[in-house]
Symmetry: D2
Subunit: 344 residues, 4 copies
């Protein structure tokens, strides 16, 4: 049984980790930390977990106790993993960080987008970007894993078959993404009130969202060269789900795109290439660790439209984190992650 | 491995059965029937099930094949189980009927409320009302189980501690119930369109809803005598969930109601009596086979307010059906039903 | 043209006042105050008002400038009107207070429920409770009007025909009320996030909500004696709307309740008694200053069920405030308030 | 007072016409037709209209009576206006058609997309496309006006400043559009149930939506030559609203796009060009006849992102129809259309 610690478990990715790990046959949550909620039972904060974690309480983070775990998840705001990672890694435990702290390879770029100095640039060399469909082998032996963001997961999985095959004009990619409100986290904010965000659609941060450099970094690797991406995120009146609508110009109209995608993901347990003509729905992945994709070329032109849906809290965060844990700990990759989505 | 057949699997209770049974370690769905969708793969109709039932197709109901199953669930409109039950029972299989066909003990009363003759009054003698918290022993040996309705489950579980203890004035009970829209089923109807039912609350069928006689029948048994119940259902702009707000006048203010409820359900795996002062939320049971209860006596008066929440498709339908299957087949009662609710 | 000032216009009742007054042919908003938003144009905060109030900015409250208005609305948290009312009244202007500050006749009771001393008990004598259907004559000459709360409006309008006629057992009234989330205001709070309150139903403050004494005070006047009320508010996943489901025991089953209600409100422009058997929907009053009512007596028993719906921000707040202004200023009562509800 | 007839008033555009015309000072609805609802009072079908149209009933369409009206709106499925237009036009009345029947100039193209022969090609010569921001002069004297579709309105208003100025590469335009569910109409359908479309996002008809040729036709006129457009519509879990996110490549990065848009719409009462950096929200136009626009050029590249929001039932249908009536009848263009949006 794998001993699990969770740092910062009061947000949505924290409770989702707990939900998923409650069903995991080989993992047990030993510690969950929160400075502000010390002593509170997690089942009091999250009544859906009553009957599952009735003894577990939030405690103040303690590097020694966390170090005794086999795996420590960080479900924290950015900067926290920077501050604690080195000490924890020294204990020999593995870190699976759901925050943005170790996603970007370039500390300066990180610093520009997050508005503060990078707190642990010396660890970047060992950090592995935890997108199993790209980095599975590196994840197996990684001690520090940076779980991809939600938009980056949906967008990269949709674009990389085209880019790896050299089939798209990498200089003009567009990702028009729609997210449920849980992506903004559980912090109190006026904009995320039901009174403000229900019955409403809007774009936000069109001039530049923090996930832009992360996505670009991943696409650059897939393309083997520079990419130009326009990324427009939108807020959608639902709790969970990301729908990425991706646009790319193909350089060869004769290619069988359906086959390209199907082949690329043939052995991926959590990527589902849907039949020709499909329109994946976000609800078809609600609560499940799956990315469903469909590829279209409307009116037979050279513009390809890829539709990519995930649950932002599962394949876009906590589910992917557990998938990384399974890989890194040598378990069956799908362990604890094989339940169907909740629909309706 | 238990062989399962499902009659009429195209509606919400059908797909929910499939979702739950996909995670059940001791059951396997062999047959699922639908006349209108014959030959359609269920994963084409329900993309959340892709990867789980990729070969299973809807077939025309065939009593012989169904009879070869250990358990046959009916997830059908009323009347269908009436027509098929006798033939199936003769094969020796068990029937777990999610429809209303065998819930009422009195065929005439059934006929009045459902507007057609009862199709199988001769089977009423062997039908067992599948509310495990009341009828567990009878369920163990039942061959024909009538799964309670959603409102009746939430309402009975909330009232029966009071009634069994003789503590409430049984002549003036009120159940003010709020349901998500999935309770109306998956049939196309103007009233259940998002354009009509979102951003809206309304009561309906105040003059008399079909669940009224079912609830009354159960409360009568608990009270050991006649009861007077006013039941007002409301449509709420959400997909899943029932919130029953129950009002009863207690005849003795000195009783410790919290203890009464806690004791009544102390050994029930799927009834959660929450701490004093709690307000259970429907989302805390979304997707889970749990009823959460809280009991209040506002301003120290003699009016008791019980708050009772379930997921109408799980503890109010398909989850309870699987719970019945587990009991009737001699399995661990919680098998396949122990995952936490999806929250947020 | 009536000169209008608004104190505290950044919340939902403030923007709703602005929306309604933009269409009012005889009123003009001269001043709107907010300490925190000084200098911000209201159309920058509320883009729906672009093109309507393009010059108006939030300013710091100034008693002299406010005093130069004919009417000053308070759309503030409780306590603010207490602090400013005396000085303003001395200028001769009228105050229409949407907060709870002057709703309760009894300063001590106010203090108990609001957890602070009453700030202006000496003004209670001149404060008029602004429910036009009860107090129209007093409103005409009032200088200080306390606009009823949202739950109190829906609940009182539903109960008073029964109580005024002496037809209900006043000792056991029940108000089971469901409210949209905007009733909680525009302040950032975790509980009102879409991620927390969408796809969810829950009761809250069952042990006692601040509107309870306000409702009881009004019902006592209608009944001409003491009343016993159990009031259970619920949070519903929608932005606007209150649905009050009211339960009372009638002492005489022979009375024509439909006629009783129709007669009581025959001359009321903003109370709509719907036909026998109706189920009013909250969306049928969205954005409109209307209370729609239906009265039922299920199964011919002695329990009466009254269904009462309003838009909490209109007839439950800002619309009723404008109605009070019209009455107090000698205008046509329906001026600026006669548009239909937005449906769908 | 203008006499108004409405053919086919049972759908969402019909009830929205009634809502808007109830507030119009110079128009009176004389007739509203529906074969299926003959004799039903519209306030019984649409309780939000109680108190506004209490006598008006649906009647069977009668060309003579309709011909006695000054204006006849068609709020019908496609094909109906084809069948009735010639006879009505002969009476001298004006037709304002909200359906797609006369939007396309090319009868054959219409026939291809709508799957049936064009029913009145001989009238196309006199039909005027009712987008006032483009065709105001022609509308003044038109007898047959084709009101633009919802997607076409949002999309054309966003693209035409760029195309008219010759600033965009017209061969690769992208319109990623998100619509509320009311756009699908009020017909009963499984896909539009709250249980299916709430908490969900999906694209649909990526291979080709009927609004594509209409949009292309309008953009061609603006560009003065051929255009290539990829149009991907999405279904969003809300009732009202369209959010069009438009992508175009500019040929000259030095142009002041904000000024371009502001100048183009400087005199347009119903197009609001928002300040630099804005993100218009659909709720800011809910119930109002306004299109709000913002223009972005992310990261200073050559890809322009235009954000365009309307209420699909108002500026995207019934409001625009009334705007056309005002123009065609020589009234003030904003008459009856100047109320602010409902927010929250």
């Amino acid at each position: 049984m794998i001993k699990v610690g969770i740092v910062g478990g009061t947000g949505y990715t924290g409770v989702e980790l707990l939900r998923l790990l409650a069903q995991h046959p080989e993992a047990h949550v030993e510690i969950i930390t929160s400075r502000s909620e010390e002593g509170v039972r997690i089942s009091d904060m999250y009544p859906n977990l009553r009957g599952h974690y009735d003894q577990l309480q939030f405690s103040v983070p303690d590097a020694q106790k966390l170090g005794a775990c086999d795996v420590v998840f960080f479900a924290t705001p950015h900067g926290v993993a920077h501050a604690m990672a080195a000490e924890l890694l020294a204990t020999g435990t593995r870190i699976i960080d759901l925050s943005a702290d170790f996603r970007l390879r370039d500390a300066e770029e990180w610093s520009e987008w997050y508005g503060q100095p990078h707190g642990a640039p010396e660890l970047l060399g060992q950090a592995v970007y935890g997108l199993p469909e790209v980095n599975r082998e590196a994840i197996r032996s990684a001690q520090l894993i940076a779980v991809p963001g939600c938009y980056p997961t949906a967008t990269q999985l949709g674009f990389i078959p085209l880019l790896e095959a050299g089939l798209a004009d990498a200089s003009r990619l567009i990702a028009d993404c729609k997210s449920g409100v849980s992506g903004a986290g559980r912090g109190a904010s006026v904009g995320a009130l039901l009174g403000e965000s229900s019955e409403n659609m809007k774009a936000y941060t069109v001039k530049g969202h923090r996930h832009l450099p992360e996505i670009t970094q991943g696409l650059r690797l897939a393309a083997g060269g520079p990419v130009g991406l326009t990324f427009v995120p939108h807020l959608t009146p639902m709790i969970r789900g990301i729908h990425a609508t991706l646009y790319a110009t193909v350089t060869d109209r004769s290619v069988d795109l359906q086959k390209l995608f199907a082949d690329r993901y043939a052995n991926e347990p959590f990527v589902d290439v849907m039949p020709v003509g499909s329109h994946p729905e976000t609800r078809s992945v609600r609560g499940a660790n799956v990315c469903r994709l469909a590829v279209h070329r409307p009116q037979g032109g050279d513009l390809v439209v890829v539709l990519s849906v995930i649950d932002n809290l599962v394949k876009g965060a906590s589910g992917q984190a557990v998938q990384n844990m399974n890989i890194a700990m040598g378990l069956e990759e799908t362990l604890g992650l094989s339940h169907p989505a909740l629909m309706p």
